[in-house]
Amino acid sequence: MLQKPILEVKGLTKIFGRGCSQCKIYTGPDRETNICPTCKSIVACSDISFELFRGEVLGIIGESGSGKSTILKLLNFEIDPTEGEMYVNTPDLEGKNLFLLNSFQKRKIRNSFIGMVYQYPYMGLRMNISVGGNIAERLLISNYKNFSYIRKKALDLLKKTEIPTERIDDLPINFSGGMQQRVQIAKALANAPLVLFLDEVTTGLDLSVQAKILDLIKNIQAEYGLSIIVVSHDIGVIRLLTTRAIVMKYGKIVEAGLTDQILEDPQHPYTQLLVSSQL
């Protein structure tokens, strides 16, 4: 009756430092810190559990340092968790905790299932390789070998992300911030990912460019029925893109629910502060 989540995360914890038995107990919103008073380790996120369903856009909102981006880095296998499990609902991987796979298998999943777009384009792009080359790189690691196919696919993606196709051989370093973000999105979509992670993708862009990027994401999501996790500190972005959201503070989830419910009937004091802080 109910569909199974496409991605499931259980008890995800990341502690930077040596860690101790008290790290998780003495940190979090109630303690108003994410630094363990005993061992001084930083608890970036602790006991994070959530599900992502097919075609759903899930928001993660919270202030800087609340652990939002750490979660995406963990899910993208950029860093290893201290504790936790992650599952994807595909026939060959069902029931397997992805964090326990070897690095080769993880890379394979990353290349074929996940698309990631970072706040800073230099994290997702090779600035001194042409736009076409950036997209081709992603296709090559997903085992596409035919050059003319790759070129055609890159052009398609540029059109899809509204980048002038005549700029396919230009270097991203010569692009504007908004355009670099589009290239990142094109690159992330190249391998037709199952899930897309967006980490503060409109932060630092001017308003009209922000709006265009958000509209692009919305259109692409609708067209491909993508499952997306959107990390943002901007309530407007969360309101526009997501149907469900998670609110984080000091590494812990303080509230989770339907986005309209969180914005109109926030339960936790921090969420109330966040919502009332909107300009």
């Binding site: 369903f53 526009l240 149907t243 339907l258 419910q261 109109e264 004091p269 109330q272």
Partner: protein
């Protein structure tokens, strides 16, 4: 029975700027039969909208049950159902017309209404656009506004777009929060005619109306929210 509200209460605990409890609605109980129009009456601030928002789950009920007899899942307690279930119901059965237009910015009026249908029902795009046009025309929205963004519209025009978006996909349960509040008599009647037609086609409705005379024209029964229970602010 399509919907049964049992001892529904909503108390808002607010921590900002200072700790306060505000009661939205207290001990509300009613049944709504399939195909019926239930009007909700009560003075301003008596919690009428709160009841509707609890049924749509924009507000989390504090206590009580909201039993909805859904096509998809059978009886669902909206007060406690998983978010995934609520989202599915919002996409296939339950629609809500808010007092104020809240829509995705930078989308034209016609596309907003057509998308409301396209995202919920399997219809060809051409047909969705045609239906959207029909409904907007019936509500008296001038066709020159179809390609404009509704954020620039008058209050009445925005309200019409709001209603068009909710009505176009023929929901099974329609929640109406002051659907005629910012409309003149002529426009209000256009809305009522459209709602009556939808009702005849089987849609069950719960509506909060500002104007009792208007409500009498469409409601089969009314539920009075007793403002007397309302204690207002207390710490």
């Amino acid at each position: 029975m399509l919907l049964r509200v049992e001892a529904l209460s909503k108390v808002f605990k607010r921590y900002i700027p200072s700790s306060v409890e505000i009661s939205g609605c207290i001990d509300v109980s009613f049944d709504v039969e399939e195909g019926e129009f239930l009007g909700i009456l009560g003075p301003s601030g008596s919690g009428k909208s709160t009841i509707l928002k609890c049924i749509y789950r924009t507000y989390l009920p504090t206590s009580g049950n909201i039993l909805y007899n859904s096509k998809l899942y059978g009886i669902v307690n909206i007060a406690k159902a998983p978010e995934q279930v609520i989202l599915r119901l919002r996409l296939s059965e339950i629609s809500y017309v808010s007092q104020f237009l809240k829509v995705i910015p930078r989308v034209s009026t016609l596309n907003l209404v057509a998308n409301a249908l396209l995202s919920r029902r399997k219809v060809p795009e051409v047909e969705a656009i045609k239906k959207a046009k029909d409904i907007l025309e019936r509500l008296g929205v001038p066709s020159k506004l179809f390609d404009a963004f509704p954020s620039t519209f008058s209050g009445g025009e925005q309200q019409k777009v709001n209603i068009a978006m909710a009505v176009v996909w023929k929901p099974r349960l329609l929640l109406l929060d002051e659907p005629t509040a910012s409309l003149d008599m002529h426009s209000a009647n256009q809305v009522l005619d459209l709602l009556k037609e939808l009702k005849q086609q089987g849609t069950t409705m719960i509506g909060v109306f500002h104007d009792i005379e208007l409500m009498k024209l469409i409601a089969d029964r009314t539920y009075k929210v007793n403002g007397g229970y309302r204690d207002g602010f207390h710490n």
